[in-house]
């Protein structure tokens, strides 16, 4: 990822990455039949918003930052924006807001604090992040290990020239209100193997809580104590033939603890998919923090 300086006058030098910072665009559609996951931004809506606010095409690459902590020094004067999980945004130590584009001058440092709610913050820069594209995408796929490695301290990433016209607005009205409900609502549609469950309705009864082992592949849901039953598969329905898995699929393994498949989900699965989240709810699911409470709605 390191480039010779001078080849790209505009670039970011990574000083700190937090828990996980990866370059993400809208993923690599079109290769699933060859075993390649979609990947891309876990919260696709937040990345698209970020790109719109700096006048990029919606699919330009930005940085997905999990639980904050990214710090970069910029070379060149740049227009940047932060969306997704709201966090402190500091330019040379001076606060600026998320959800609104801001100018960063050559040599200044941009640092992101820990989100006050939600999980994943997106940093976009006008022109997009320019790392080598693999199968049409600059995304890091953590499952298939395609695309660039996660950002590391010392990396230099170039800023590209993927610019549209200057945006008519550089501020997101009202869209940066954080998801602070006690219980996050996720909307699901029926999945192909709902009938493999003895009672698919169990999924929609009571509350779930987000297991800490959740990642870009999927969000694992546990029951809150005695809050409700786990879905049980019929004696003949515990495994299904290997079949394609849609983004947002809610898969029920034999343990009964659902897995909601996010961006780096596998192409095929072997356990029944009882429900599929809507695209908006996939974005919300990608922002769930371990321990947060969730209710599924149909």
């Amino acid at each position: 990822m390191t480039r010779p300086s001078g080849a790209h006058p505009q670039h970011l030098d990574v000083l700190a990455t937090g828990a996980l910072s990866t370059v993400q665009d809208l993923g690599r559609p079109g290769y699933a039949h060859l075993g390649v996951p979609l990947s891309g931004a876990a919260d696709r809506g937040a990345l698209r918003l970020a790109n719109r606010l700096v006048g990029n095409p919606e699919g330009a690459a930005g940085v997905e930052v999990t639980l904050g902590g990214l710090s970069v020094t910029v070379a060149g004067d740049l227009l940047m924006v932060v969306t997704g999980a709201p966090c402190a945004v500091l330019v040379d130590g001076r606060p600026t807001g998320p959800g609104a584009a801001f100018v960063v001058r050559d040599g200044q440092t941009v640092s992101l604090g820990t989100p006050t709610s939600q999980l994943r913050t997106y940093l976009a820069v006008r022109g997009g992040i320019d790392v080598p594209s693999v199968l049409g995408s600059r995304s890091t796929d953590t499952l298939s290990e395609l695309g660039p490695a996660p950002l590391a301290v010392g990396d230099r990433v170039a800023v590209g020239s993927e610019r549209d016209a200057w945006p008519s607005t550089t501020e997101a009205p009202g869209t940066m209100t954080s998801v602070t409900e006690d219980v996050v609502a996720l909307h699901a549609e029926p999945g192909p193997r709902a009938q493999a469950l003895i009672d698919p309705g169990v999924l929609y009864d009571g509350l779930w809580t987000v297991n800490p082992s959740s990642n870009r592949v999927g969000v694992r849901l546990d029951r809150i104590d005695a809050d409700g039953a786990l879905p049980e598969t019929r004696s003949d329905g515990g495994t299904v033939a290997s079949e394609g898995v849609a983004l947002g699929s809610v898969q029920i393994p034999p343990s009964g603890q659902p897995v909601v498949f996010l961006a780096d989900h596998p192409v095929t699965g072997g356990y029944p998919v009882a429900a599929v989240l809507t695209a908006d709810s996939v974005d919300r699911a990608a922002q769930l923090v371990p321990g947060q409470r969730v209710r599924l709605h149909r």
């Binding site: 699933a32 075993g35 849609a246 192409v267």
Partner: protein, 226 residues
């Protein structure tokens, strides 16, 4: 063919009621992919054949055009050779990809025991069968091969061999394996629960090639002892 719901942006077509579900799935997937690459089904990004199904996935949030999909399915319902018009997929008449194998895998004896064959019969049966890539998954470039044309060997016995009771944490790249009626070649080192018959030097996956996988759905494959 049954249609099973898969949310607003996808649909699962199920062929499990048909005689050879994988062949029906492969055929429909090839026709849908050809239509897709020809500009029909504009919101559809992926058509994924699997063991008994085809997943049709549209851009997340754009919604699947069910009417357009049905129109395409009707228009292309005339039986056609597998993959006609799909640039990623070889047609039925294509020559098999030949994969050279050193049959020295650690599970040869176990497979022979499970199949009730001797090791030479296992190898001969594996070599003499013409396989076809029914579908892909598990990892980029990992093709699930099903027998397309049996040779003179004991194919039924070989196909009766299940997965290993314990998965290996690492199987080397190029490992040639069988399990549950399938054969496969691991495109790169990964965990794996299939029985290993041998090793091949073939490079199955190259992100700079188009398509990036040597094995694509529909391709014929033949194994040769080296």
């Amino acid at each position: 063919m049954r249609e099973l719901p898969a949310g607003r942006d996808a649909l699962l077509l199920d062929f499990s009621d048909e005689d050879t579900p994988w062949r029906s799935a492969l055929d429909v997937a090839s026709r849908l992919r050809a239509a897709m690459t020809g500009g029909e089904l504009p919101t559809v990004t992926d058509v994924v054949p699997a063991e008994t199904t085809v997943l049709v996935q549209a851009v997340p949030g754009r919604g699947l055009d069910h009417l357009g999909l049905h129109r395409t399915l009707r228009r292309t319902s005339t039986p056609s050779p597998i993959a006609a018009g799909d640039p990623d997929t070889a047609s039925a008449s294509d020559e098999p990809v030949v994969i050279g194998v050193r049959y020295d895998g650690p599970d040869l004896d176990a497979v022979a025991d499970l199949a009730g064959l001797d090791v030479d019969e296992v190898i001969a049966t594996h070599r003499e069968t013409i396989w076809r890539v029914a579908f892909m998954g598990f990892a980029p470039g990992f093709g699930y091969l099903v027998p397309d044309r049996p040779g003179p060997g004991r194919l039924d016995a070989l196909r009766s061999v299940p997965r290993r009771s314990e998965s290996r944490t690492s199987v080397p790249a190029g490992a040639v394996a069988v399990a549950a009626g399938y054969s496969a070649v691991y495109p790169r080192a990964s965990p794996g629960g299939w029985h290993l018959l041998g090793r091949s030097d073939i490079a199955l996956w190259d992100v700079d090639a188009q398509p990036p996988a040597v094995l694509t759905p529909g391709r014929l494959v033949r194994f040769e002892a080296t």
